[in-house]
Symmetry: C2
Subunit: 205 residues, 2 copies
């Protein structure tokens, strides 16, 4: 099983170990010897699989993207009332980000974006873009059903507006090492207020 199974396992092991290390210490903070010290094996194989340190990095980002997709794909908003759909989406997104790995993935993608543009783009498509997409299709349904104002632009932009308002400050504080993102449940006032503001606005009456 050298080309079909053993090799795959080895490759996966390397990518997995490298993911952990890159997320922990950043691209420059990890040497290839560090990776090999975890996986065993030698540089020859590593280079035969990935060609370069950058090649390994790309593979790592793809892996991270795959995993990032999982928790949000399960989300089913179809036919929920607006308040509940928003709440559920908000809670889900915040809970994804409460995993330190998610924040470190952001940091890694942002740090290396100038040197690895394709990886950064892949990350954007896979991670932050997905949540907004799901909510957007939901909002489009509601808009088509006449439950929402039609004068406020594309559903995609509105979806972004809501999610971003929830996420931005917490994510920035986490990225800058000021405070971790905490887990929230459906009753959290932070989420509740954002949903309410988004639904009915800030102005009285």
């Amino acid at each position: 099983m050298p080309k079909t199974e053993r090799a795959q396992q080895k490759r996966d092991a390397i990518v997995k170990a490298a993911s952990v290390l890159f997320l922990e210490r950043g691209f420059n903070g990890v040497s290839l010897d560090d990776v090999l010290q975890v996986t065993g094996g030698s540089k020859s194989t590593l280079y035969s699989y990935f060609g370069s340190k950058d090649g390994l990095f790309e593979a790592v980002i793809l892996r991270i993207c795959d995993e990032a997709l999982i928790p949000l794909r399960a989300l089913e908003l179809h036919h929920l009332p607006l308040r509940e759909a928003l709440t559920r989406m908000g809670v889900s997104v915040l809970n994804v980000l409460s995993e330190p790995v998610a924040v470190e993935a952001y940091r890694l993608a942002i740090s290396e974006a100038p040197r690895h543009p394709e990886a950064a783009r892949a990350y954007y498509e896979a991670a932050p873009n997905v949540a907004a997409g799901i909510l957007a299709t939901y909002l489009a349904e509601r808009q088509a059903a006449g439950e929402l104002r039609g004068d406020l632009g594309e559903p995609r932009r509105l979806a972004s507006l809501f999610i971003d308002s929830l996420v931005h400050n917490l994510l920035m504080k986490a990225l800058l090492g000021i405070a971790p993102v905490l887990r929230r449940d459906e009753d959290d006032p932070f989420v509740r207020d954002a949903v309410e503001a988004f639904m009915h606005g800030l102005v009285r009456g």
Copy 2:
């Protein structure tokens, strides 16, 4: 004038040159020799001023913070009607971020946050926190005047909600190298829709 003026000028020149380079190529992408090649002078002086590369980095971040503060401090919202205050704040924030330097400063702060926590914190206090603070005091006034709903939490959080909804997606796309932040004027539909949604909500009627 060695300690009082000449030295200060030299010090400033080094910090300035280093700012440019760090913002351009990141902390690891710049060697001290690169900096000295721009400023002239020698390592002796550099080390006598900053002690280490990290010391220089801290000085650079402080300088960046100082400059980041300038354009928003001029903003005067007092006694403006809500729609206009929001619009003006939104346009200002987006225009600050449309300067590539601002985005690169974010990237630098985020990248180095694990290794330079105090610098990252200083950046947060100086840059993103200021805009929200200004809008928050304005919103507190309006809330006190009874023009806003009082059941939606702290003004500070509401201010963040608005600014973040506007900023997050554009900033992320810029940080990930997908699209630059564009300048906007007061009539831009992007800003107008966000203001309207924030004021009156998404639900029809």
